[in-house]
């Protein structure tokens, strides 16, 4: 029974990693841009929610709702004025620029909020739990996983059911030809990064409510996000969810054996998947 419980907790934790990864997966899928500042942008969003919550005395969920349009705008501006300028055949410039951005965000946050640990307080719901068959699950972790599933579902609907989604996929296929069909690729990229930042805000909400955060934890979130994306298969959103869950379960199992093994076992699972399926669990047909 303890193993079943551990696996369930791992799956729920995977929801958080999937939320970290969804924005990264989205941006990579559309413009082949690896955003090394993704983890720091999540932390930035967490501080934004914290600021809104403490200034207006709101519940973190409402705070996140207010932070979403701000982060969308930030993503749009970031893409339009910075990242669009470095996108091209060479993959190095965007890597360098986003790496630099990561450093800038971390230091900016240190300057503005100090190195103290912060937390978003959601009140009694944090400790609430539900009996779910033979195991008991926390309401917050359950909410995290449900949110991750909803986010991935919504992104898939956006991708495959809407005009904007077709523009995303057409631009991802061939940006030059997309231009000849009347699509403005740079605009599409800006919207995509805006959407990714909205997802990052949702990730930030659950990150901040689950545990303490400080300005320096971004890069570690980036690693988990990366691993989830690659385990799932580049460009597959449901694969990203599966990837998050693989890491979550591996960490939970590792922690059950010995708490020191939690982080390590997540990375080991990642390496094992890479060895067995180098293109991930659900690779796109032709890339």
């Amino acid at each position: 029974m303890i193993w079943l419980d551990t696996i369930v907790q791992g799956i729920l934790l995977g929801g958080l990693y999937a939320l970290f990864a969804a924005g990264l997966s989205l941006v990579f899928g559309i413009m082949r841009l690896v955003n090394l500042a993704h983890g720091d942008l999540i932390v930035l969003a967490a501080f934004l929610i914290l600021t809104i919550v403490s200034a207006l005395g709101l519940n973190p969920f409402l705070g996140a709702l207010l932070a979403m349009p701000v982060m969308f705008g930030a993503g749009w501006l970031l893409q339009t004025y910075v990242l669009n300028r470095v996108l091209g055949d060479d993959i190095l410039p965007p890597l360098l620029v986003t790496f630099g951005l990561s450093v800038v965000i971390q230091n900016g946050l240190l300057e503005g909020f100090s190195a103290d640990s912060q937390k978003l307080s959601a009140g009694p719901i944090e400790a609430a739990s539900l009996p779910l068959g033979p195991v008991t699950v926390g309401v917050m972790p359950l909410l995290t996983l449900i949110s991750a599933i909803l986010v991935i579902f919504a992104l898939n609907q956006l991708f495959y059911r809407t005009r904007l989604g077709r523009a995303f996929r057409a631009t991802s296929d061939d940006a030059v030809t997309a231009g000849l069909m009347g699509i403005r690729p740079r605009n599409v990229f800006a919207i995509a990064t805006g959407v990714a930042m909205v997802v990052a805000t949702i990730a930030a909400l659950y990150l901040g409510m689950r545990a303490n955060f400080d300005p320096t934890i971004g890069p570690a979130r980036l690693i988990y996000a990366f691993e989830a994306v690659i385990i799932g298969g580049l460009g597959s959103l449901w694969g990203t969810l599966a990837g998050g869950i693989v890491i979550g379960v591996a960490q939970a199992l590792g922690a059950a054996v010995n708490p020191e093994w939690q982080i390590l076992s997540g990375h080991i699972a990642f390496i094992l998947v890479l060895l067995v399926r180098p293109r991930g669990l659900f690779p796109r047909a032709n890339d």
């Binding site: 005009r163 077709r166 523009a167 996929r169 057409a170 991802s172 296929d173 061939d174 030059v176 030809t177 997309a178 231009g179 000849l180 069909m181 009347g182 699509i183 403005r184 796109r284 047909a285 032709n286």
Partner: protein, 239 residues
């Protein structure tokens, strides 16, 4: 007034002048053929018209509006449709979605009207049966038809066809010509680059010959083909 007008357009890549002071006009509803040896600058001419590359000199007008500094996107929306020599479908999208993207963003069609519009084009181009297939899975003829269909979905005033008959069997070619004729009959202007001459001359009213980036001749197809200069340069026949 002419629909499309090129006025003294020139373009060089380094020392190589690929388009050399080319001027011509295409009237509304007219079909113009372009021939010339490989490397004569035919596809470059198309890139200059669609806005993929900017000319060094000269101007491109559509409906009397100067489009020279307009990006490709604006030109599609203004009515310049294009099919590529090597089909470039969006391979992760279905055939229908390929058209829908073009109709939504290039043709300004929305909602159910766009769906119906695209289905009509699929019928007209004989692709209705593979509407939901991934475009990456199509045969060469189907890909060529998709190129044509997608260009049509942008609701062009003038459609640029780049060697669309190349690589097809005789039978495939005949049916493609029928489709192109019906597009022409609907009043869309056509500029068509083609090496398959009998396909070209069965549709176009005028023929232009390009050589080393220069416009050598333009006029009645039969007269152009009869010209000794064209025979020598284009067909490689010593006169």
């Amino acid at each position: 007034m002419s629909l499309l007008k090129l006025d003294n357009v020139s373009k060089s890549f380094g020392m190589l002048k690929v388009t050399d002071s080319v001027s011509f006009e295409v009237a509304k509803g007219e079909a113009l053929g372009i021939i010339g040896p490989n490397g004569a600058g035919k596809s470059t001419l198309f890139n200059l018209i669609t806005g993929n590359i900017a000319p060094d000199e000269g101007a491109v007008y559509l409906d009397g509006v100067d489009m020279t500094r307009k990006p490709a996107m604006s030109r599609v929306q203004a009515g310049v449709g294009r099919s590529f020599q090597i089909p470039q479908p969006f391979t992760h999208l279905s055939v229908f979605e390929n058209l829908l993207v073009a109709a939504n963003f290039g043709g300004g069609h929305h909602g159910h009207a766009a769906d119906d519009f695209c289905m009509d084009i699929l019928d007209q181009t004989g692709l209705a049966g593979v509407a939901d297939a991934t475009s990456g899975s199509l045969s060469l003829l189907q890909r060529k038809r998709l190129e044509l269909a997608r260009a049509m979905a942008t609701s062009p005033k003038v459609i640029l066809l780049d060697e669309i008959a190349g690589g097809l069997t005789e039978g495939e070619c005949v049916s493609l010509i029928q489709t192109i004729k019906s597009i022409h009959a609907s009043g869309t202007s056509i500029i068509w680059i083609e090496h398959v001459l009998h396909a070209l001359t069965s549709v176009v009213e005028r023929l232009m010959v390009l050589n080393f980036g220069k416009m050598l001749m333009i006029g009645d197809p039969a007269e152009v083909m009869d010209s000794p200069q064209v025979k020598e340069i284009y067909l490689g026949i010593e006169v």
